[in-house]
């Protein structure tokens, strides 16, 4: 993806270049065979890894444990690997400064909670009378610690934190609540909270394969479906070992997907999937785009998050129809910006874009057009690379060294397409740019701030083109429909959901699992809610590594 924030490591050395389809798009979404086009990299058999909480997981967990009003100071930014924070979280190590940020963030949040005895009592579940009230102290630490650590605390851990509470609570000028605040502060700084510890244990019933325990499954389910810690019901289910079977996992997953926290987690997935963190740094030149208000990027992000959310949770439609759908969500400002009929009220509303509007689908979303554009002009290369990456799972190698100077961009009356086509005449550039630029040219009727236009630099725009496999399109809406029908579209999306859930890049040894998931996704009519359940209940998610014979 172009320009990930944080310390993203892109596709380097991992995915390599993907195969291109030799089939003509526009046919059926036949999953089998298309999965092979994902060109999955080889890699070592996965092992259970510490998963550092992503910034979203940390924030959500803190709010779920301490209350939604607890203040949250910033922590280390996510490391995006293959676009996903969840993948970076499995390898990144915390810097010393990062450890300090967690101390500060957990310190100010616990300080806030304990500045009000009523709030403190809600979090603790009981109010210790004094430092001798070991019943309440132990109960509160055990209960809070179980959710924070996503498993029951060991006796040693309970003793450690209870001793801390009584030691500090017994100091001159202190109190038991001050002691409890510091015990919670310690729990929230413990690596057992800041990392999801999911290592697996050998399962005799499964030929000794490393299988996640029920508590580890609770941790995984809460992490992926809620981006947070488990609730008591999930931990109770784990306590009954109900999460050792696929059916038990499905029961809890269905319940969890119906909870509000599932929408929060899905929004983060959408942000990673489409690189929407780039919206935060997408500055536009106010002299060129005076109507582009600073509030728009956040609204556009929300729009796209709601479209994906609606598709999966409410409409429960064909997920790939997102690529050419005319349904979106706008508030008053966004409706006016897109030239849609005004909506009433202050919030977002589901609306249908008029059939004759050139705006359609994912690529017509302001969020995409703005994020993958430059301050003064469009970048067909960035837009094309986005489509290659997010929709077609086609890795583009980085540009070679010694690129010859580009032609002068000041040529009068030349469109962006005409200038870039001249650039692509150079053979050292054309092989890769041919995979990106033509797709971007199809989006040229929308400028860098997402507004429709028919001319570029005084000349008419030509938005026709073909994908690498020959599938033709004419303009943004047509491009969206063409992409929807690409055989790779379904398997590509499946692989993204899979990698995000597992917190690792999909490897060649995942091929069989991915093919099965892609098949059932296609058979379901591309229903992403069912795909999510299929992934979560699959062996790939319940075991540390796919089985050797798989």
């Amino acid at each position: 993806m172009v320009g990930g924030t944080g310390t993203g490591t892109g596709n380097l050395g991992a995915a390599g270049s993907s195969a291109t389809s030799s089939q003509n798009g526009g046919g059926q979404n036949l999953a089998t065979g298309a999965t092979a086009q994902l060109d999955l990299p080889s890699g070592d058999v996965p092992i259970g890894r510490l998963h550092k909480l992503t910034a979203a997981e940390f924030a959500n967990s803190m709010h779920d444990l301490l209350g939604d009003d607890a203040p949250l100071a910033p922590v280390e930014p996510d490391s995006l690997v293959d676009d996903f924070a969840a993948i970076g979280a499995s390898t990144v190590a915390m810097s010393p400064a990062g450890v300090g940020l967690y101390e500060t963030a957990t310190g100010s949040a616990t300080d806030y909670v304990f500045s009000d005895p009523t709030r403190a009592a809600q979090v603790l579940g009981c109010t210790p009378v004094d430092t001798n009230d070991s019943a309440c102290i132990t109960k509160a630490i055990s209960s809070f610690g179980r959710r924070a650590f996503r498993r029951p605390l060991t006796n040693d851990e309970v003793t450690r934190f209870a001793t801390l509470a009584t030691s500090i609570g017994s100091e001159s000028g202190s109190s038991v609540l001050v002691g409890m605040r510091h015990a919670l502060w310690a729990i929230l700084q413990s690596p057992s909270f800041l990392y999801r510890v999911e290592l697996g244990t050998a399962s005799a019933a499964d030929n000794g394969r490393l299988k996640y325990t029920s508590y580890e499954m609770a941790s995984r389910l809460a992490g992926v479906l809620w981006n947070s810690v488990p609730d008591d019901a999930l931990l109770d289910a784990a306590g009954e070992d109900a999460l050792s079977s696929a059916d038990g996992v499905r029961t809890q997953a269905v319940r969890m997907l119906a909870a509000p926290a599932a929408h929060r987690a899905l929004a983060t997935f959408t942000d990673n999937l489409y690189g929407l963190q780039l919206l935060g740094e997408a500055s536009k030149d106010p002299t060129v785009f005076p109507n582009f208000k600073a509030t728009l990027p956040a609204e556009m992000q929300s729009e796209l998050e709601q479209r994906v959310d609606d598709m999966i949770f409410t409409s429960k439609g064909d997920f790939l129809s997102l690529y050419d759908s005319k349904t979106t969500f706008v508030n008053t400002e966004l409706a006016a910006y897109y030239g849609l009929p005004a909506v009433s009220g202050s919030g977002f509303q589901r609306v249908d874009i008029p059939a004759d509007s050139p705006r359609a689908g994912l690529l017509g979303a302001g969020a995409i057009l703005v994020a993958y554009g430059l301050p003064q002009r469009t970048s067909p290369t960035s837009r094309g690379k986005f489509v290659d990456d997010a929709i077609l799972c086609k890795a583009i190698p980085p540009p070679p060294p010694g690129v010859p100077p580009l032609p002068d961009m000041a040529a009068p009356n030349a469109t962006m397409r005409q200038r870039m086509t001249a650039h692509r005449a150079n053979p050292s550039c054309s092989s890769c740019h041919a995979l990106m630029d033509p797709i971007g040219f199809g989006m040229e009727n929308f400028d860098s701030v997402g507004q429709y236009r028919t001319q570029d630099n005084g000349s008419p725009i030509d938005a026709t083109g073909t994908l690498a496999d020959g599938a033709a399109f004419d303009g943004l809406a047509s491009l969206g429909s063409t992409l929807r029908n690409e055989p790779i579209a379904g398997p590509c999306f499946v692989s993204k959901v899979y990698a995000n859930a597992l917190g690792r890049i999909a490897l060649d040894l995942d091929g069989a699992a991915l093919s099965a998931l892609a098949d059932s996704f296609a058979k379901s009519g591309n229903h992403a809610d069912e795909l999510l359940l299929d992934v979560i209940t699959s062996d790939s998610f319940r075991f540390v590594a796919p089985s050797a014979g798989n």
């Binding site: 380097l12 851990e157 450690r160 100091e171 700084q189 413990s190 500055s283 100077p405 002068d408």
Partner: protein, 454 residues
């Protein structure tokens, strides 16, 4: 990580004893930073003055024709080039190295090359080795509050590179992400400032924080035994972070920093938002880093003016509010190539002016018998040489400072096609490193640039 803390542990134990007793008593002060021998060349007890090391990084490269000084040699024999002109005030301490080339394959422009320049190795899914500042940190850091350094950044806008927005790494997948907020760094550092008068009883909260961190460390250690090798390393680094926090708390119990600390909100109220590229933001960070080094809170820093291939804008030096990387670096400004070239040159000079802001402050700060820059090395590089073509020859490499007399300064050394890794290896040696090679594979070297050294 093994780090000396000989002046720290006894004092901590003393203070703890004092707190348990519940009364405030006079405690021995640690060795004052100003207690030097008669010549000002070492501490009175013979301990050498500390050395400092910094990496100062700017994205998007240079125009070699305008960067490389015309003449080589030292002193009056050479003069600064057009793009280096802003460094005139520190020419006496500047070593310009030209002709050097990146030796790893340029698998990814703006990633392979800065990875080689900073770590001596190609980038794969992450850097493969720690960056030079983190190789040097354990050698020079002693028991300071921030032994792995302070890491700051001006632009928080990313570039399309796999290096992301960090230029310092403890190792693979272990970035030291920059702090973009001068106000936040001030808030941290001002706590160490000794405002004079009799020692005050420490805030009881400091001792509580230590108790909390002790419990966290114990908890972390019980987890460690269950982990594989890679995760043990990750956890060890977390434990090292906890240990650094404990050291910082010990130092906060008795603030000793006597240097002048500048509040960025007072000195630079109009410096721009965190993450924006302005010279005042660079000046605010320079003030704070110099305070931290002069007060011996840290001996290492990294300063990321802009990240590799940074997509931010340089409006603060009069350029258009566009993407510096595209419109100027790649000359894609709709206003034409000539306009873009002039603007790019302005941008490089802007970065060098900000570097000068850091270096001049160091030179103006007394340290022993000389100044801070005398006892430091600041290594400056970028993510590419010629910005327009993603070139890797004639790589931009600057060294400022004299490492306590080990580095000559005031010279232009030109060695065509020499491995860039030789420069960080030389700096490592000057800082007291004893390893016999630096880097790996194509970028590995086992000798330095002897001309740099006295």
């Amino acid at each position: 990580m093994a780090r000396s803390s000989r002046t720290i542990l006894p004092r901590r134990m003393l203070l703890r004893g004092m707190l348990l007793g519940g009364v405030s008593v006079a405690v021995p002060l640690p060795r004052l930073f100003g207690m030097l021998n008669e010549n000002g060349t070492a501490f009175a007890d013979g301990t050498p003055l500390p050395l400092r090391f910094g990496v100062w990084f700017f994205g998007n490269g240079i125009i070699p024709d305008r960067w490389i000084p015309t003449l080589t040699g030292s002193g009056d024999a050479w003069t600064l080039s057009e793009e280096l002109a802003p460094l005139a005030e520190v020419k006496s301490h500047l070593s310009v190295l030209t002709g050097f080339a990146i030796k790893v394959p340029n698998n990814a422009p703006h990633s392979s090359m800065p990875s080689a320049a900073l770590t001596g190795a190609q980038i794969t899914s992450s850097v493969q080795l720690p960056s030079i500042d983190q190789v040097i940190a354990p050698i020079i850091s002693g028991g300071v509050a921030y032994p792995t350094g302070l890491h700051v950044g001006i632009s928080n806008v990313s570039g399309a590179t796999s290096l992301g927005t960090a230029i310092s790494w403890n190792g693979p997948n272990s970035p030291n992400n920059p702090n973009y907020s001068p106000a936040d760094l001030f808030k941290q550092l001002v706590q160490y400032a000794n405002t004079g008068g009799a020692p005050k009883p420490p805030d009881p909260e400091l001792a509580r924080r230590t108790k909390v961190l002790d419990a966290v460390s114990a908890d972390a250690k019980s987890l460690r035994t269950r982990l594989g090798t890679d995760d043990q390393k990750r956890l060890d680094q977390h434990l090292d972070g906890l240990s650094q926090l404990e050291t910082q708390i010990q130092k906060l119990e008795m603030p000793t920093a006597t240097g002048t600390i500048t509040d960025p909100d007072k000195a630079y109220p109009n410096r721009g938002a965190d993450g924006s590229i302005t010279r005042q933001r660079a000046q605010a960070f320079s003030d704070l880093l110099v305070f931290a080094m002069a007060s011996d809170l840290t001996r290492v820093f990294s300063f990321m003016f802009s990240c590799p291939a940074c997509h931010g804008n340089y409006t603060d030096c009069g350029l258009d509010p566009t993407t510096f990387h595209e419109d100027y670096g790649h000359r894609l400004s709709p206003k034409g190539v000539t306009y873009a070239t002039i603007g790019f040159n302005t941008g490089v000079q802007f970065a060098m002016s900000s570097l000068a802001d850091t270096l001049v402050r160091m030179k103006d700060t007394p340290d022993g018998a000389g100044n801070l820059l005398d006892n430091s090395l600041v290594y400056t590089t970028s993510c590419v040489s010629e910005s327009q073509t993603h070139g890797g020859t004639d790589y931009p490499l600057l060294v400022a400072g004299k490492a306590g007399g080990k580095v000559k300064g005031d010279q232009h050394i030109r060695i065509v096609d020499e491995n860039t890794s030789k420069v960080p290896f030389t700096l490592l040696t000057a800082m007291g490193g004893t390893v016999t090679s630096f880097g790996m594979a194509e970028a590995q070297v086992n000798s330095g640039v002897s001309e740099l050294l006295t």
